[in-house]
């Protein structure tokens, strides 16, 4: 066992630190859940990409640096410690890209990945539907065969950033006859500005249009935008949900940076006699460290060749609940200012509140942990 980053990781750390010190915007960008903020974040993605910092873990030919998991983790620590902006391309980078690396064609990768890396094409995930949330396999939106492609019909819900995004990836029922809900689904990509698409922005709790509903009325998708074999959509989608729950969505670097800010806030403002609050600040510091070390251990296991599997459910429950506790503690430390919606902590708090719902609710994750990691009987009585 050791905690020493490899020389390659340390080298990347030094380079990233120097670059970030020079380029991170001095003032925070406006919220990426607004039109203005979205544009500013796109520009930031382009800036990152120009010096190959937007997708360090991708192969060089797609704009990355071929960083391994450990190097990526170290990069993320530097990124968040530098106070760099949130990533508007996250959905694409953490969900679609791994799917294309695993199931896409050479042509799809060449066409899709570089503009994603540059923030030119921002992607939305179109999985959920009004009647298909936790029970995603019950989805009813359809892909109907037509000349040279498919026609999409139906409605998708809660699509993050779809209010401002360019394209979407999602699963659709292409064989309505099969009785098995997980069969006959097809995974494909489509243009949010194509004829037949209506995007209705939906305001989240703080009023910002963080997600949208998509109404699809015979939206044409050419065959080259189908990912993998038609009918195999479920298998393809499930092979990448681990990425969503697990590390790529929430790297420890981000929580380490937040916990660090919280401890500084506590030192600067807290009443030293308030040990109850002190204990919560300590728990936030401990939680960030625990998540970092848990991730390192997981990375070591992956490097040994074991698959991530159901362990990403442990990850997801941990970070989502941790994130809320961290922000609640910060609001409490802020005292009267904790109520004000214009602080960085307030925006983080609203964002954190959703973590236990998206990427598979924590109830569903606990089922997975109990059944697949503890071997308890299936069933949801």
């Amino acid at each position: 066992m050791d905690l020493d980053p490899s020389p390659a990781a340390e080298a990347l750390r030094a380079k990233a630190r120097a670059w970030l010190a020079e380029h991170v915007p001095a003032a925070p960008l406006p919220s990426l859940e607004t039109a203005e903020g979205f544009a500013a974040h796109r520009a930031w993605e382009a800036r990152l990409a120009a010096d190959r910092w937007s997708v360090v873990s991708w192969p060089e030919r797609y704009g990355g640096r071929g960083a391994d998991l450990e190097q990526w983790l170290v990069f993320e620590e530097e990124y968040w410690a530098a106070g760099a902006p949130g990533r508007v391309s996250q959905n694409g980078i953490s969900l679609l890209a791994p799917t294309l690396f695993e199931h896409g064609t050479q042509e799809q990768r060449a066409r899709t990945l570089p503009p994603m890396a540059r923030g030119e094409v921002v992607w939305a995930q179109a999985w959920s539907e009004p009647e298909a949330g936790s029970d995603l396999a019950s989805l009813t939106s359809r892909a109907v065969r037509t000349d040279g492609g498919w026609l999409l019909r139906g409605q998708k819900a809660w699509s993050s950033r779809a209010a401002f995004a360019d394209r979407a990836f999602g699963i659709f029922r292409s064989d309505p006859v099969t009785r098995r809900p997980h069969h006959g689904l097809t995974y494909l990509m489509f243009d949010l500005r194509a004829p037949g698409v209506t995007v209705r922005p939906v305001a989240r709790l703080d009023g910002r249009p963080a997600f949208a509903e998509l109404f699809l009325d015979d939206v044409f998708v050419p065959d080259e935008d189908v990912i993998g074999e038609p009918g195999q959509g479920w298998r393809i989608a499930m092979s990448t949900t681990g990425d969503e729950r697990g590390l790529t969505l929430r790297s420890p670097g981000r929580f380490l940076a937040s916990a660090d800010r919280l401890v500084r806030l506590w030192r600067a403002t807290a009443d030293p006699g308030d040990t109850a609050l002190r204990d919560r600040v300590a728990d936030a510091a401990i939680g960030a460290r625990a998540y970092q070390l848990f991730t390192w251990a997981g990375a070591a296991r992956l490097a040994e060749g074991s698959a991530a599997g159901a362990e990403s459910s442990l990850n997801k429950v941990f970070w989502s609940e941790y994130d809320i506790a961290l922000h609640e503690t910060a609001l409490e430390l802020l005292g009267a200012d904790g109520e004000s919606a214009d602080t960085e902590w307030a925006e983080g708090y609203v964002f954190a509140l959703a973590g236990t719902v998206y990427a598979g609710t924590n109830e569903i994750q606990r089922d997975i942990i109990a059944e697949r990691l503890l071997g308890l009987p299936k069933g949801r009585l």
């Binding site: 990781a9 300590a282 442990l314 606990r366 109990a370």
Partner: protein, 343 residues
């Protein structure tokens, strides 16, 4: 950044596990609580034979070198098997004497360490700044006590980055009346005053602080082991106990509590190994509070999910159930640990 046990560390854990499984540790623990120390001493010798105590002792005193990671690996197994006796206190005593020797006071180490490493002597340790009691002093061959130095002691020149204050290390001549713990396998008593002074001065305070850290680390590991044993046993129980025509383990309320138990234990594990690697005070405190709370929560869950049978002393589960709370608070209460994290 390879926070994974090496092949040797895994093998060490497996062989300890196999050895302790063969020892019938629950009976030994029950006998220990009843005052019969023979079966526990026999296990103690086998634990020593497996090299566990030697992990806290340098080679020059017939140990294996100071190996905190291996120590953590071993204490997880000792906790999983509910091995009785002042295990933590013995390695803490060894760590204290070792650090004293490293800072120039080698006399006590030379005399005492080889016997601790080999398992011939069982030690216990009271650090009065942490708490007034020593665990199992009646069973121990050596009762070490670290007191703050008398106020009138002459000020001494500080050597290196020593913590503030002086301390006195002595071998107590005996102890007061035993108090039964919530865990009957942990008898405790206040050490008697007096006895041979083994060392004195600021370097003793430094060595004591180091020993308290090792004790906290080993306790964290033992807690993790206790929590894992409680989870394993509870999972096995809810799979076979049926109500309403199905195993109770198929009820979501039951599953989710166990999922949370696993989650807490699995996030304590990397903190434990991380702390063993860095030896940093804040890291050890973080591991201690996290493992202690996780094991205690595992105990509460185990008790609940076993129904009434979980509330009996007859079931072996009680051996782990009653350990979790004292271990959570020993060698650094959660609140003290949290303060250390931010210190």
């Amino acid at each position: 950044m390879r926070l994974q046990p090496t092949a040797e560390q895994r093998q060490f854990a497996r062989s300890l596990d196999a050895m302790l499984t063969a020892c019938d540790t629950p009976s030994a623990a029950r006998a220990w609580a009843a005052g019969d120390r023979a079966p526990g001493r026999a296990i103690w010798s086998r634990v020593a034979g497996a090299g566990v105590f030697a992990l806290a002792v340098p080679e020059r005193y017939e140990g294996a070198g100071t190996l905190p990671v291996e120590l953590a690996v071993a204490f997880v197994e000792l906790g999983r098997h509910a091995v009785p006796g002042p295990l933590v206190e013995t390695v803490a005593a060894a760590a204290l004497l070792t650090r004293l020797a490293e800072t120039g006071d080698a006399a006590a180490a030379k005399r005492l360490l080889p016997r601790l490493a080999s398992g011939e002597d069982m030690a216990t340790l009271a650090v009065t700044a942490v708490g007034p009691y020593a665990v199992d002093p009646d069973a121990a061959d050596l009762l070490l006590v670290a007191d703050p130095a008398r106020r009138d002691a002459p000020a001494r020149a500080r050597r290196g980055p020593a913590p503030s204050g002086d301390a006195v290390l002595r071998a107590a001549p005996g102890h007061g009346p035993l108090r039964v713990s919530n865990d009957p396998v942990r008898g405790r008593a206040r050490p008697a005053p007096g006895g041979e002074v083994l060392a004195e001065g600021p370097q003793v305070a430094g060595a004591v602080a180091h020993a308290v850290g090792i004790a906290a680390l080993a306790t964290a590991a033992q807690s993790l082991g206790v929590g894992l044993a409680l989870l394993d046993r509870t999972v096995a129980y809810v799979r076979q106990r049926t109500q309403f025509g199905v195993p109770v383990g198929s009820f979501q309320a039951v599953k989710h509590r166990l999922a949370d138990t696993l989650l807490a234990l699995e996030f304590a594990r990397p903190l434990l190994y991380g702390a063993a690697l860095t030896g940093a005070r804040a890291d050890i405190a973080a591991a201690k509070v996290t493992a202690g709370e996780a094991a205690y929560a595992a105990a509460r869950t185990a008790l609940q999910l076993h129904g009434a049978v979980g509330y009996t002393e007859e079931l072996d589960l009680s051996l782990w159930l009653r350990k979790a709370r004292p271990l959570r608070d020993a060698w650094g209460t959660p609140s003290w640990c949290r303060a250390q994290v931010l210190a």
